[in-house]
């Protein structure tokens, strides 16, 4: 990759071919306030928080929609920039509730981060009351439009990352809002409940229904299917309370499906979860050790002719496990009777 140098706030920075000014700055540890930027999405330029000054360029371009280039000289702060950003923030907050403590986005909110970075400390414009009903039809997350900053990250994620396009912005101007097709509730829409939009939402507008804050995180692999998405399991008091996609994992780059994102804690801690093999004895199942279970299975299988046996593989197993299983079926059991469930 071609690399070059540019100057941001008097620091020499290295940047790569496709980097925007915002990306180059963030990589170098220089924070520029931003809200509608998500590294997974195409540049948007809606929130106008990331405006900068660039030598030789008129006005105040947005860092997230401006390509970095060799020799560029960028300023990210200054009296004029600070004032303009505060005005924009002030406008944004005049459309936003201020009950941060009771907001599900509290402490994770990028708007709070921007506001504290800019030293916002008093409301001077008249706020607008909004009372959109909360869409709580989805089993895993709620959509509360009253907190929405219209950054369109959810909409763009559902398009650019998941390809589902379940949601879109409708209406115009300050009547704009996030909507499903024909305005149905999320549960009745095309939405697959993957929660990708929720992850991208910078504020509390799309929030998980039940999300205690984890005290510890462990990197692991999602147990649900052969894709093997990298995840972080968040735990608290010995229990899994959250799941987060691992952006560094090559198989999912942070994305997850509904099962991985919302289905792990429940089944891991479920009272009826199977934790050991079970063997049928005198009409009922009983827990057994692996050794015993395998011996019984082996003994019984030896009693059948190949054409009397069939094997069903599982999509929950890895590709490698499924490969071994079909090898075992064909080479050891001597039959082609192998199929798979192809669903979870």
């Amino acid at each position: 990759m071609e690399t070059f140098k540019l100057k941001i706030d008097d620091r020499q920075i290295n940047a790569g071919g496709g980097d925007t000014v915002l990306q180059a700055a963030l990589k170098a540890g220089i924070y520029i306030p931003n809200l509608c930027y998500d590294p997974r999405l195409a540049p948007y330029g809606g929130c106008r928080m990331c405006i900068v000054e660039i030598e030789g360029t008129r006005g105040f371009p947005a860092a997230c929609t401006t390509r970095a280039s060799d020799g560029m000289v960028v300023k990210t702060y200054g009296p004029q920039l600070d004032r303009l950003r505060l005005d924009t923030l002030e406008l944004l907050l005049s459309d936003h509730p201020t009950d941060c403590l009771t907001c599900p986005g509290n402490q994770r909110c990028e708007l709070q981060k921007v506001a504290s970075f800019l030293g916002y400390n008093q409301r001077s414009l008249k706020p607008r009351k909004s009372d959109h009903p909360i869409d709580d039809s989805n089993p895993f997350f709620n959509l509360d439009r009253n907190y929405c900053v219209l950054c369109a990250r959810c909409v763009r994620t559902c398009d650019e990352v998941t390809g589902i396009n379940a949601i879109e912005l409708i209406n115009r101007g300050d009547e704009s809002r996030v909507s499903t097709f024909a305005g149905s509730r999320l549960a009745e829409s095309e939405c697959r409940s993957c929660g990708e939009c929720m992850v991208s939402c910078p504020v509390g507008a799309i929030h998980a229904k039940n999300s205690p804050v984890a005290t510890e995180e462990t990197a692991t692999i999602c147990p649900y299917c052969g894709v093997g998405c990298g995840i972080y399991l968040g735990t608290r008091q010995g229990k899994i309370v959250s799941v987060r996609g691992n952006e560094a994992s090559p198989s999912n780059r942070g994305s997850l499906c509904v099962k991985g994102r919302f289905g792990i804690n429940e089944f891991v801690h479920h009272s009826e979860r199977l934790k050991s093999p079970r063997v049928k004895k005198e009409g009922g199942f009983e827990s057994a050790e692996w050794e015993e279970a395998l011996r019984i299975a082996g003994d019984k299988l030896s009693g059948y002719k190949p054409e009397e046996v069939a094997v069903i593989a599982s999509a929950k197993a890895t590709n490698e496990d499924n490969y071994v299983l079909q090898k075992f079926t064909r080479a050891v059991l001597g039959t082609n009777n192998i199929d798979h469930c192809a669903r979870l």
Binding site: P43, Y44, G45, G46, C47, R48, I51, G59, F60, P61, A62, T65, T66, R67, R83, L84, D87, T88, L91, L92, S94, D95, S124, L125, K126, R128, V149, L150, A152, E168, L169, N171, R172, G173, D174, E175, S176
Partner: protein, 555 residues
């Protein structure tokens, strides 16, 4: 495979109109005419001809721009000049037909003017104040020919520019447009030749061409009138541009609220197809090009070029940041050249008559002419085309006939919703891109509204700001929320409850919105408020809550 023989026939046909063997009647049938009752007049003409047993040809024509005299009907009798009759009503049609066509009384009482000469007490149309200061280049055929008749366009020099272009190198054509100094008429005044050159340079194919006919400014109707009156002038311009740049597909993005313009464009496109001016291997030159009409759903922001392209692609019409410019990556990521209706209409004439002829008109930096929709409290309202550099004063007083009812002029609003209000003191200003911008307004697409002493500047600013606020796409914060906040503050002044410090709030908020908005809509949104504060601060001060003023005095 040229158009020569067809042109010869067309000239013949056109001469038969100008020096007819039987009377020719032209009825001004465009949307403005329709609004003033021309459909009923047209019917009355048919009835009248039958009633009196007159054998005459009835033609439609477009709009001469003389709105204050609509409906307009022209009559050409054998051996006589074309006479335009003003404010024709269905009740006086029969009498007029009988008096003039049968009894040879041209009825000077009903006439507006005779074309090119004084005639029996009827003044020369082009010597009327409204007409004599105009230079009609883009509007050269408007109200003259039948826009649905290809021969008429051809006979008046149509497609000569294009045929000339086909004999030139594309680079030569672009150089000619550059030399002419043509600048975009859609608002920003970007040099057209330079735009074409950028797009031509790109090695990415296919390339697209767009005619921007969205015309969303309230009160603006230049583009509609032009398309209704002379669609081929725009289409020929597009053809020349496509050939020069190397585009293979063109789009006309036109608002769906312009049904008559769409109908006439469709008819004109049919003519072009029939005469090998569209499709594969145009006129045997090896150059192929097609034009499609795309109807917009009536969002002002879709006139902004990036939003317009999104809309053509079938997406939500919201702007995005440039670069990349359309010339680099536009429609479907391909190089795209977009120009305004009026820009396109100027192109054929430049090719036909040469850059030197064109750039004789105008100022040092703003060449040629500009059309304006002159409206408001002015005696002669209408669509005018004047050389760049004419003063506002001349437009309002000489062409517009001054302010209605002898009132005092207070301000002239130019540039549409993104423009500004210029006070009496600025009337000496010349109308060109630079001067208007310096005074805090813009040329825009050509709205010009005259305000008199009774008009409130606050209400005027509110009208435009409210429009912009409704039309903001909502993508970026300053425009989406800022315009609403400004409007709310402005309303307190209108109600006489303004806070003294809020004049400053409006100024600083306006400044921020201009500097931080994503697209031209937001960047210009505060202009109506900022210019009225600048020039009419007193009216804002009158809107301050008197109690608050007293409280302040006590402090």
């Amino acid at each position: 495979m040229g158009l020569n023989s067809l042109r010869k026939e067309s000239i013949h046909e056109w001469n038969e109109v100008l020096n007819p063997s039987r009377p020719q009647i032209f009825v001004g049938m465009s949307t403005c005419g329709e609004a003033s009752g021309v459909v009923a007049v047209n019917k009355a003409i048919q009835d009248g001809l039958e009633e009196h047993g007159i054998d005459a040809v009835v033609n439609k024509t477009g709009c001469l721009g003389i709105c204050y005299c609509e409906p307009l009907v022209d009559i050409i009798k054998p051996g006589k000049p074309r006479i335009s009759y003003r404010s024709v009503e269905k009740t006086n049609v029969s009498g007029l037909l009988k008096d003039y066509i049968l009894d040879d009384n041209p009825r000077p009482d009903l006439a507006l003017g005779a074309w090119g000469q004084e005639f029996k007490g009827i003044p020369d149309l082009f010597e009327l104040d409204f007409m004599k200061f105009q230079v009609r280049i883009a509007l050269r055929n408007a109200g003259v020919i039948n826009p649905e008749n290809f021969s008429h366009y051809l006979a008046r020099g149509g497609y000569q520019g294009f045929e000339k272009a086909l004999d030139m190198d594309p680079e030569e054509i672009i150089a000619e447009i550059e030399k002419a100094g043509l600048r975009g008429r859609g608002g920003a005044g970007f040099p057209t030749g330079m735009k074409w050159k950028l797009c031509r340079k790109s090695r990415n194919f296919p390339k697209y061409l767009i005619c921007n006919a969205d015309e969303g400014d309230p009160g603006a109707f230049m583009d509609r009138s032009l398309l209704e009156s002379d669609p081929h002038s725009v289409l020929e311009g597009m053809l020349i541009g496509a050939y020069a740049i190397g585009c293979s597909r063109g789009f006309i993005y036109i608002r769906a609220e312009y049904p008559l313009a769409i109908k006439r464009l469709k008819i004109a496109l049919e003519h072009m197809k029939r005469h090998h001016l569209l499709g594969e291997n145009i006129l045997g030159s090896g150059f192929s090009f097609d034009i499609e009409i795309r109807e917009g759903a009536g969002a002002f922001v879709c006139g902004e070029e990036t939003a317009l392209m999104k809309s053509i692609e079938g997406q939500r019409g919201t702007p995005y940041s440039r670069p990349p410019f359309p010339a680099q990556a536009g429609l479907w990521g391909k190089p795209t050249n977009i120009n305004n209706v009026e820009t396109w209409a100027n192109v054929p004439v430049i090719l036909e008559k040469g850059a030197g002829w064109f750039n004789r008109h105008g100022t040092e930096k703003s060449k040629g002419t500009k059309t304006f929709a002159l409206a408001g409290k002015v005696n002669n309202t209408g669509l005018i085309e004047v050389p760049m550099g004419m003063t506002l004063e001349k437009i309002v007083y000489a062409i517009g006939g001054g302010v209605c009812d002898g009132k005092e002029l207070k301000a002239v609003q130019t540039g549409g919703p993104a423009g500004g209000c210029l006070p009496l003191a600025k009337l000496g200003l010349t109308v060109d891109y630079e001067s208007l911008a310096e005074a805090g307004s813009i040329m825009g697409s050509g709205g010009m509204i005259v305000l008199d002493e009774d008009d409130s500047m606050l209400e005027t600013a509110r009208y435009f700001l409210a429009f912009i606020q409704e039309e903001s796409c909502g993508k970026c914060v300053p425009c989406r929320t800022g315009t609403r906040q400004m409007l709310a503050i402005l309303d307190t002044f209108i109600k006489g409850r303004g806070k003294p410090q809020d004049i400053e709030t409006l100024l600083s908020l306006g400044d921020s919105i201009k500097k931080t908005s994503l697209c031209g809509l937001g960047q210009a949104a505060p202009n109506p408020v900022l210019t009225t504060i600048n020039y009419f601060r007193g009216e804002y001060e009158k809107g301050i809550n008197p109690k608050l003023l007293r409280a302040k005095a006590h402090q």
